[in-house]
Symmetry: C2
């Protein structure tokens, strides 16, 4: 049966479009974090939506399960096949054309395989930008970003991927093509099916193209670093920045002293932005899209920090005096993850709670965990403005990685997820569910939510061939 | 069977919660525009989500179809029962509490029956505003606005209802309660089920509460009126305003000379904003949320119009010198519909095309229709910034309303919808499908879109009891 399918698929896709070579497939069978390695029946790389459509129809006829894959830079194993070897990995990477870039309408229509960095560069050439970025931008593709509703440090101002998708084309489980690529700013013809595919991790359809929103290019930015005595003060500073800088506020990241020290130990050339230590640090970025506003940024930044001092929210602060200084402040933020990982084994959690509850949550959860698991250290850093922190729990010194991760580490993760759920939060703020958190979602998800998701999954993929075993 | 259901429902809801009196029900059995009058088994007015849940479960047991209703101010008959008399009208109007209004988080959590104007006033008391308004604001409810993804003149800046819903609670077809009321700015736990209920016109679930986004109150606004030689020039002016005023641009409405003259004839006290006639008129509004920006509005407005003159986009223009003048300019815009209606019978269409295509569409569609239907006059006005105009076709003078509407008028509507579809547009930009456009959606909708909508409908409402015969 499989050989008949493979023959037909090879005929359909041509030599560039299908491989069963172990060597060719190998890079795409292990996930980004190296957590899972699977097997595949074949790796298909169609060159067009029509080919994706025909291939999916063929899969439906032969009962072949499909694992859609973009840049293979997901954090939750959602694009990695299982170990069975019965699944087809469907790579969208060959579909990498920017089909249109309209500077007046400020939109870019991209095939699914367009790499984020390529889109950034294309927008920049027109004096525009695509206001979403993340660590894997050299690999991550538009299709993957849409399918996982990706986030990043600019969500505070511009929203996550969902807010940036104006139009979408996708192939459904029976091979039919849902074409909603032409953006209509207003369209009330029933259910917004785009929204159903966004963030569904390839379980309801395969995103083949998207029309994305662009923003004016950056005419200037102001990057500040502030030391605060508590996360409550950092939150008050965030609200103040929102009031005083309005829609110019593009980034508001926080880190504890522990993370700063980890970065300073990890990066030989890094220097502490402020003279003394502070319980918490905030990295604040204002961005202007036109020259006139850009000229006002220094004054707005000064006034913001002066007001924050006067209110006692900030103990010390600095404004980057050059792009180079601004880059160095951001480098600290971007190095936290590897720096914390260098300390030793750690369980990492990508969680959110309602924005206003975040300080209280961290103040309750961190000491609780450290008390329950002696020797561990809990560290939270990230996107305070979105109520989303990366919650790392570092193993007691000397722990053996594999044993700790499988034992105490697993129990710690369950406890973090329990606490987040009790606080009305999410066990996956940015990184999706994929394979990694499927059982936890099953355990902790609201039963009505789970039942509704499963009903939609059965309705749109009755044979269960689209990324089975992931998410739902 | 019905009597058993009615007895149980009466026991469940109490005397305030259920009526079968023809007199009590009458106001809720005819739609806002007076197009449809139906019959109902009873009118239920539950007082809580728990009562809605129990009532829907009871309906599921007895096979009683439900027509959810908010303020009964919909434009497409979506909240009016059919003539069979077998349907239960489920009014959410008694659930009219604002459950929370958090000025720091800028959110308001409202039961479904909260009237839009009440929400406006509550937000204003806190120095905030809810940035969506429309003609029926004294009747329209939060639940209805969410269920129809309502729009208005502020969509350009703030988006339609979908963009303003942060959290949602709804009762599904089996009576289960989907509670996603606590807003999480980031949450990637699978499908975003909120999005499925928003705009589904009560066919997938009954919205019982929503957490909505608030914006800073208005610190100042600048309202301008400009005469242009073409809709292309108006569109160029819109792009210029976007570049020069950025996110301050809140409204950009257009009307042809014909609509201005209709308003001047209809409103005895109205005066033309500009000295001479112009092919097209643009009404532009900038809004500032803080005093400092408000102080800059006059300068920004002057510069915008000066630049527009220099580019030859504008023949004449004026800036409202007072709130009173600003109100009078807006009154002209808001009076177009009744003024056009006073001329005689007309078919009204609420359509959108891709924003950048709107001028070319209007230039092609208007003369085509007038040529195909001698004696008619086609008039487009409205939200150019959203690619959404109200496209009215006025009957030849002396036409008898009912006969014309049922004959030529119907054929004209079909032709307008055909043209819009051919241009990649929507036959319902704002007003939804309801009962009014269901057959047209069936005729013109993309088959894949329709099949997918029906699959979701069957999955979430297998007995077909939620607002049957509407939308899908």
């Amino acid at each position: 049966m499989n050989s008949a399918f493979l023959e037909e698929a090879a005929r359909l896709l041509g030599p560039k479009g299908l491989t069963t070579s172990a060597e060719d497939m190998a890079p795409w069978l292990t996930d980004w974090r190296g957590r899972y390695t699977g097997k595949a029946l074949a790796l298909a790389s169609p060159a067009s939506t029509a080919e994706v459509s025909a291939l999916v129809r063929l899969c439906a006829e032969h009962g072949v399960p499909i694992v859609p894959q973009g840049g293979n830079s997901g954090m939750s194993g959602g694009a990695t096949p299982f170990e069975s070897g019965t699944e087809l990995v469907l790579s969208l990477r060959r579909m990498n054309r920017i089909l249109a870039l309209d500077p007046a309408a400020r939109t870019a229509t991209c095939e699914a395989g367009v790499i984020l960095q390529v889109l950034h560069e294309a927008a920049e050439k027109e004096g525009l930008r695509f206001p979403l970025s993340l660590g894997g931008k050299g690999s991550a593709t538009v299709g993957g970003l849409v399918s996982t509703n990706a986030g990043g440090t600019q969500v505070l101002r511009h929203g996550s991927m969902r807010a940036l998708v104006l139009g979408l084309e996708g192939v459904l489980a029976d091979g039919s093509v849902l074409n909603q690529l032409t953006p209509l700013k207003k369209d009330n013809r029933g259910f917004d099916l785009k929204q159903v595919l966004i963030g569904s991790e390839g379980t309801l359809g395969i995103v083949t193209a998207a029309t994305l929103k662009l923003e004016p290019g950056i005419a200037g930015r102001s990057v500040m670093w502030a030391g605060t005595a508590s996360l409550h003060d950092a939150r008050a500073l965030l609200l103040l920045a929102g009031d005083m800088a309005g829609s110019l506020l593009e980034g508001f990241e926080v880190l504890p002293q522990h993370s700063l020290e980890a970065v300073l130990a990890y990066l030989p050339d890094a220097r502490a932005p402020l003279a003394g230590p502070h319980e918490w640090h905030a990295l604040i970025e204002l961005v202007a899209g036109d020259a006139e506003t850009a000229a006002r940024l220094p004054e707005i930044s000064e006034r913001l920090l002066t007001e924050a001092f006067e209110r006692g929210l900030v103990a010390d602060a600095t404004i980057a005096a050059s792009e180079d200084q601004a880059e160095r402040l951001w480098l600290i933020r971007e190095t936290i993850s590897p720096a914390e990982r260098a300390i030793g084994p750690a369980m990492q959690h990508d969680i959110s709670v309602p924005v206003e509850k975040m300080p209280a949550f961290v103040e309750a959860a961190v000491p609780q965990l450290e008390a329950d698991w002696p020797g561990t250290q809990a560290v939270c850093f990230g996107h305070l403005g979105d109520g989303n922190v990366h919650f790392h729990v570092i193993a007691p010194p000397g722990s053996e990685r594999a044993a700790w991760e499988a034992g105490d580490g697993k129990a710690i993760s369950a406890q973090v997820h329990d606490m987040v759920t009790a606080w009305g939060g999410s066990i996956s703020a940015e990184h999706g569910i994929g394979r990694l958190k499927r059982d936890e979602l099953d355990r902790l998800g609201d039963p009505v939510m789970l039942a509704t998701m499963r009903a939609i999954k059965r309705a749109l993929d009755p044979k269960g061939l689209l990324n089975p075993g992931k998410l739902v």
